[in-house]
């Protein structure tokens, strides 16, 4: 696997998309004019970096020597019995430095920040993984770093807040709107427009205005490029399906892109179904959203009849986002990929299952992909080869998970207690 080809890909991802930043009717730039110059600057810097062998080698060296790429593909043999016998292959993005795929993109964008001579980076974060990755790269490259995080998320991902602060980043809890990722993105854009002379916005997913969806995809496609080669080498054929969770969509695009031209490979994205689609409390944008504009791009989003963004709900902070990257909207409409919701309960079951059968505690985000793979495996049967993007590890989710599972156990105990002697409590 040679270094240069990893990031050397055109704007056209093999899906017929030709206009930069456009994916069929999706994408584009719906931003205040004040940001256009910065987006143009970033776009130009990215184009020239992509054509520069020195940049590509510097990025690959960081990915290899700092982050630990290539990440392995692990066959989950004991999990297979819960997937109708289908063979489940895990692309181990959880083994990256900082614990998720987010570092792939951040190393690229941080190198770009240095290249355009800016000294400060800002980022939004939901689960905290993108914030931790950005704080990490900032420490490594001597950049100052501010991370916006919804106040609600600072509570459910307190460990990652501490990690970012240890790394020297300033974490600003966002108290506006729904106090989650979407509001953190609004605050980050406000910061950017105010401080654009010194500051680069390291965006964490394949949403947002051009060039982010294209650039972040290109930095993430290393996942699928590696996995495609690894699976071919080990199993002598392509997988039948490639499965990933979808928040904004970066890990999913990252693993899908290498397979877009392989028509026989099914691409399946799993969205956060929260309490269930029928409850309205979910984050399944492609399943039940409508086309519109949010955070600078046209795509699907959860919106009401007035065009207001509807607050999303998920046990997974990283998937708790009412928008989605424009390329996924395009892949959905053209039916090249399909998207299904996975509820909190289904995801937590898969979370527990992988922990107990394989000794791997996944991120709750990634557990959504696993849950989807289990269902798909039962459908495809024992001959199937299913490649799952294990986008992150579950260290950050231990508090959420222990609360979730303890609660389930305590309810019965509490009910017993309550029945026996309510007055003693």
């Amino acid at each position: 696997m040679s270094a240069p080809s990893r990031t050397d890909n055109g704007v056209d991802a093999g899906n017929g998309v030709e206009v930069p930043g456009r994916f069929g009717p999706y994408g584009g730039r719906y931003v205040p004019e004040a940001l256009v110059a910065a987006l143009d600057e970033l776009d130009e810097a990215y184009r020239s970096a992509r054509a520069d062998l020195g940049f590509r080698e510097a990025l690959w060296a960081l990915q290899r020597d700092y982050s630990g790429r290539p990440t392995p593909v692990t066959e989950a043999k004991r999990l297979s019995q819960y997937a109708g016998g289908a063979r489940i292959l895990l692309k181990r993005e959880d083994l990256n430095h900082t614990g998720s795929h987010k570092i792939n993109n951040v190393l690229g964008q941080s190198l770009l920040t240095q290249r355009i001579g800016k000294s400060r980076v800002i980022a939004e974060t939901g689960a905290g993984q993108h914030g931790v990755a950005t704080a990490t790269a900032a420490a490594l490259m001597g950049l100052s770093c501010t991370v916006y995080m919804g106040e609600e998320d600072t509570r459910r991902q307190a460990l990652n807040v501490a990690r970012m602060r240890l790394l020297g980043a300033e974490v600003i809890p966002v108290t506006t709107g729904s106090r989650t990722l979407k509001d953190a993105i609004n605050e980050a854009f406000r910061d950017w427009v105010t401080n654009v002379e010194t500051t680069n916005y390291v965006f964490g997913t394949v949403a947002g205005p051009h060039p982010f969806p294209t650039m972040v995809r290109d930095f993430q496609r290393v996942i699928g490029d590696e996995a495609r080669e690894q699976v071919l080498e080990r199993f002598g054929r392509l997988p039948d399906a490639v499965v990933a969770c979808v928040g904004g969509g970066s890990n999913a695009i990252g693993i899908f892109t290498a397979f877009l031209g392989d028509d026989e490979v099914r691409l399946l994205g799993l969205e956060a179904g929260g309490d269930g689609i029928e409850t309205g409390r979910h984050a399944a944008t492609l399943t039940s959203g409508l086309p519109g504009v949010l955070h600078g791009a046209r795509s699907y989003l959860l919106q009401d009849e007035n065009g207001q963004t509807i607050e999303s709900h998920s046990i997974s902070a990283g998937l708790d986002y009412p928008g989605v990257g424009p390329e996924h909207a395009y892949l959905r409409d053209t039916a090249r990929a399909s998207y299904l919701p996975v509820t909190d309960a289904e995801a937590m079951k898969a979370f527990e299952l992988l922990s107990r059968t394989e000794g791997i505690i996944p991120a709750i985000e990634s557990a959504h992909a696993l849950a989807g793979a289990l269902v798909l495996g039962r459908e495809l049967g024992p001959d199937a080869l299913i490649l799952v993007n294990l986008s992150g590890r579950g260290d950050k989710d231990v508090a959420t998970a222990s609360e979730y599972f303890d609660l389930a156990e305590q309810t019965e105990a509490e009910r017993d207690l309550a029945e026996r002697a309510p007055e003693e409590q």
Partner: protein, 254 residues
């Protein structure tokens, strides 16, 4: 028309209630405002600072929508001021671009300002506005290149909105020093009036801006006056007296 700069007020529909917001808009007109920018509440107002966010949040939570906005347009038109809608793009798109243009024109609106819609993405809106004979106002910023400035100004009809600072809405102690240069750059390539917004809150600042621009836009200061009002009636009195102070300002031209 007197030889002076125009005064433009901004208030969002639905704060504290739809009725009270319309009364406040009419009160600014009573205080001497020429044009009222009628804000469409939006859940993700990326260009707005804390003051406007706070008011808009109330309106969004109350479910205020385009129908209420059109009522405000009618109310302002009756008061004699010129109603112009200010909306982020998604509420317009959700309502239907053509339908919005038709209904806005029918309600007596003069046009719309679209802070997150750049002309590059605006072909549908421009066509709809043309059909309905509406003004369309795009923003220029200190960071706009000459090429973009010319492209944006030529896509505008009515006036050009010059965002005076790199930043979000909100009252500032000093009005930007880059605004005069930006206005001069627009003047050099366009015959349209240039309105300056972002940061103006006092009569003295209005006078300063009126010295080099064709119109002065005041938003957060009006919203602040409403937020600080004890009740809607007090709020309306406060915005009216602020409007009167600013109206004196634009006639002074420092």
């Amino acid at each position: 028309m007197e030889n002076r700069a125009a005064l433009i007020s901004y208030l969002p529909v639905g704060y504290p209630t739809v009725e009270a917001s319309i009364e406040a808009m009419v009160a600014t007109a009573g205080g001497g405002v020429d044009v009222v920018e009628i804000g469409v509440p939006y859940s993700d107002p990326g260009m707005d600072g804390p003051t406007i966010q706070q008011a808009v949040d109330v309106a969004v939570r109350a479910g205020v929508g385009m129908r209420d906005v059109l009522r405000a347009v009618e109310g302002v038109a009756e008061s004699g001021a010129v109603p112009v809608v200010m909306s982020y793009w998604n509420p317009i798109e959700r309502y239907g671009v053509d339908r919005f243009a038709r209904d806005l024109a029918a309600a007596g609106g003069a046009g719309a300002i679209t802070p997150d819609l750049i002309p590059d993405e605006a072909s549908e809106w421009i066509a709809a506005a043309d059909r309905a004979d509406l003004d369309r106002v795009f923003l220029v910023a200190p960071s706009s290149t000459d090429v973009r400035l010319a492209m944006t100004a030529s896509a505008c009809r009515g006036f050009v909105y010059a965002a005076s600072t790199m930043g979000v809405t909100g009252a500032r102690a000093e009005v930007s020093s880059v605004a005069p240069a930006l206005v001069a750059r627009v003047r050099a390539i366009s015959g349209l009036p240039v309105a300056v917004g972002l940061g103006v809150s006092t009569g003295a600042q209005a006078a300063e801006v009126a010295g080099y621009a064709d119109a002065v836009i005041v938003g957060s200061a009006f919203v602040r006056a409403l937020l600080d009002g004890r009740d809607p009636a007090a709020g309306a009195r406060a915005v009216q007296s602020l409007a009167a102070e600013l109206a004196v300002g634009v006639r002074q031209r420092s």
